[in-house]
């Protein structure tokens, strides 16, 4: 292996710093949301140098708001961000790289082997998170990709340092000849020490995060309630489930609604709800409450859901998968959404666009008027109480766990 352990350790240190920058920026963006407000994200391969993304449609936003961006979400509002764990791990790799650099003769091979083992942690995590991002979220997050790259580079640096260890220094450095091979030691204790260090480097920031996070419980149940929940016109669509009654207010072509559904399903708490859906398309062709069509085609897809009866959920899932395609096509050709719906669900032909279903969709919007709902999606009402907007993304698991707690207690023997 060419080079010395110190050369490779320099590469490892560089990778660790890069990893710290990427995961640190992700963690910073995550922490911003703890103030319950809306923020732009630093979605760039050069964090801090690019402009802040405020569209809410970037891959970084999708990833950050996904149920996979943090752990322990029910215990803590937002949970512990995965990127914070990444910061701890990269900080440890930086520490171990600096030790090699400060150790004039390189480091002991077992220590470098332990460092190499540590470098597998971000690599394995990157592989898992990368697959989730591409396969589940269908999102490419630049900060995440930067982290994956830093992980790969750290792996190469740690591998190179390990393989180059134990070579006679004289063969490598004429100016500082020292024929003594780098000392060796037992691997197991070094691995044990590395594991302990990994725990310390991660537990410290996690403990600080958990201890210092703002209290969000006091906001639960303070964001309004349904004033007239009766469904006289049969506009609520049954999404299944048993348990506490819940009404979701969704637009089938709204990216935030898609993310919200993914979070609700991933949380496992959706199964504790008797879920009903109110269609609220943010499309001016049927919704007079919006001045322009934020989501062109949403009225047509909503009609298709009302026409589909028991297959409404299938239409919703289909629309979630093709949101951008439907919106883009309908913006160019207003009839495109109808063509796409009919190609996928021919059974709604004869209903779609007809006065009866248009009138029913209108009644759906009027249900929102009767209950004086805010003109936005998504919204969730649990047992008539509105989940605050700030709690529908990162804080969803935490909030639902507490809103459902009384019901769970009542059901207990």
């Amino acid at each position: 292996m060419p080079g010395t352990p110190r050369t490779w350790a320099a590469l490892l240190a560089l990778a660790a710093v890069a990893g710290l920058v990427f995961t640190g920026t992700s963690t910073y963006d995550f922490a911003q949301y703890l103030d319950r407000q809306v923020h732009g994200l630093h979605c760039s391969f050069l964090p801090g140098l690019g402009s802040v993304d405020v569209t809410g449609a970037s891959g970084c936003h999708v990833t950050l708001m996904s149920p996979y961006s943090s752990v322990l979400r029910q215990a803590l509002w937002g949970g512990i961000p995965m990127s914070l764990l990444g910061m701890g791990t990269f900080a440890l790799l930086l520490y171990r790289a600096l030790l090699v650099l400060l150790h004039r003769g390189g480091a002991e091979r077992p220590a470098l082997q332990a460092t190499f083992a540590l470098s597998l942690v971000p690599v394995a995590t990157s592989i898992v998170m990368g697959v989730i991002a591409l396969q589940v979220l269908d999102a490419a997050c630049k900060l995440c990709i930067g982290t994956y790259g830093a992980s790969a580079l750290a792996f190469v640096g740690a591998l190179g340092a390990m393989l180059s260890a134990g070579r006679p220094q004289a063969a490598l450095d004429d100016d500082d000849a020292d024929p003594t091979p780098a000392p060796t030691g037992a691997l197991a204790p070094r691995l044990g020490m590395a594991t302990v260090q990994l725990g310390i480097f991660n537990l410290l920031p996690v403990a600080a995060w958990a201890a210092m996070s703002p209290a969000h419980e006091r906001y639960i149940g303070t964001c309004g309630e349904l004033t007239d929940p009766a469904d006289k016109h049969g506009v609520l669509i049954d999404l299944g489930g048993q348990g506490t009654p819940a009404v979701e207010v969704l637009d089938p072509l709204c990216p935030s609604c898609k993310g919200f559904e993914q979070r609700l399903d991933a949380s496992g708490q959706g199964a504790l709800l008797d879920r009903q859906l109110l269609l609220f398309p943010l499309d001016a062709t049927c919704n007079w409450m919006v001045s322009s069509s934020l989501h062109p085609g949403a009225c047509t897809v909503s009609e298709a859901m009302l026409c589909a009866g028991g297959d409404a959920r299938a239409v919703l899932d289909w629309a979630f998968e093709r949101q951008e395609e439907i919106r883009t096509a309908t913006a160019e050709d207003p009839e495109a959404a109808a063509r796409m719906v009919l190609a996928a669900f021919p059974q709604v032909e004869g209903c779609l666009g007809k006065p009866a279903v248009r009138s029913k969709l209108n009644q759906s919007l009027r249900w929102a008027v009767k209950n004086q709902l805010p003109v936005l999606t998504p919204q969730l009402f649990v047992d008539g109480r509105r989940v605050c907007d700030a709690d529908t993304d990162l804080g969803l698991d935490y909030t639902l766990a507490r809103m459902l707690a009384p019901a769970a207690t009542e059901g207990a023997p």
């Binding site: 710290l20 640190g24 963690t27 900080a91 520490y95 009138s359 008027v369 709902l373």
Partner: protein, 237 residues
Amino acid sequence: MNSPTSPALALGVGAACALLPTGLATAWILSAQGRLEAAEASEADTPVAATAAVADEGYCTPELRKVLRRVLTSCGLVGADGAAGRGCQPADAAAVATLAGGDFNALFLPLADRAAIVQFEKNEAALGAEDSALVDKVFAERGGASWFLVVARSSPEGSVAHNRALSEQRARAITDHIHATFPDPELDQQVGLLWLGEEYAQLGADFCGWQRSGGVDACTTDDLNRSAFMAWIDCRL
């Protein structure tokens, strides 16, 4: 020279590296906490999303609102007098509108894109297929409107009493069709009926360009007034 790092230096570097993410995370969280407290302190300044509401379009002039309120009140749609759907007869309409017929019609001119005229056969009050389709189309295009007005008329042939009855039948034909096609327990609180017979606010030829059944050529003033004018009204009262 193979000199190990001094324990103190190693410990110092380790502490610095370990505390770096901890310190940054703490700083960011405290910053968020500060913004949260500041936002709570200035809650009144926080922008909130609009609340869902029925439409109130620009054509809802004070004059139109005044007439609409009078008509809807007197015709039993508004208020708790239990007379929902009662409708207004010609004398009622003229009295409550307190407008000349031409001025009454002029109030609805801004509704050219929202309204339609169902034209009936002479001395008939039955809807044909084309008429029903037009009613369905107009009624389904409700948007954010709160009130659906049906204003039926008759041409001057025949007696005044007969034409009053005929225009009422025409108005009822429209609402019966709507009831059958769009079942809604609240419909009677939304649909206002006026039957004007031949006595008040006859339509002029300038309404030929409006959306209507009956064919392009059937547009004499008699054709236009054997009719029911209908429109959703996007006004809040």
